[in-house]
Amino acid sequence: MIDLADSRHLAAYVLMALGLGFDLVGCIGLVRLPDVYNRLQAGTKCVTLGTFLLLLGVVVRFGLDAMGLKSLLCIWFVAMTSPTAAHAIARGAHRAGVPLASGSVVDRYREDGEAFGGTSARETVRRESVP
């Protein structure tokens, strides 16, 4: 006979250990990868998912009481804000002229004419008037 409380605690620990694994992999990527954009890629995705799983462990552990509901709200905040902040940092770094790593093959943002100060109004009008 499986004790329900014990199995819930075990499931919470498994979720938290998985989340910690994602956090560690993300931070190793933050240290090891060559340029800002790669670091942002590895760090943000892995750490967001890792924190998601840690908070989900709290929900599984306590159920939907005061702590579990706050944890769900925290999951919502992290899932909404972290990609937005990563996007803003990547755009800021690109506009500040941080170079890409030497092995990079494509830079779509620059091809769109957004790089290094953004488009002027004249360029925007010209590109929109092309059929």
């Binding site: 760090g43 925290c74 937005t84 902040a85």
Partner: protein
């Protein structure tokens, strides 16, 4: 060490890696990325503290921390672009 303390130690190792990148990072953008990630990691640390103490308080700290870290990251990103804080 209990399993929970081992999880906390692992999270502190991850935070130390983030601080290493903030120390070494060749450009300001690297430091901004690492500070942003450090904020998200600390929200997870607040979740572990909630489980260890069984207190509601730490989850509230995590909620406030996630939002404040978001605002701080946006402000630093704007500063990276070279814009003023009020445009």
């Amino acid at each position: 060490m209990s399993p929970l303390e081992m999880l906390m130690a692992g999270l502190l190792v991850a935070a130390a890696l983030c601080l290493f990148r903030a120390w070494r990072g060749p450009t300001p953008a690297d430091r901004t990325v690492s500070v942003d990630l450090l904020g998200i990691l600390m929200v997870g640390f607040c979740a572990l503290l909630t489980v260890q103490t069984g207190k509601d308080l730490y989850m509230i700290v995590g909620l406030a921390w996630s939002l404040l870290s978001f605002v701080g990251s946006l402000t630093l990103a704007k500063h990276l672009e070279g814009r003023r804080f009020d445009d």
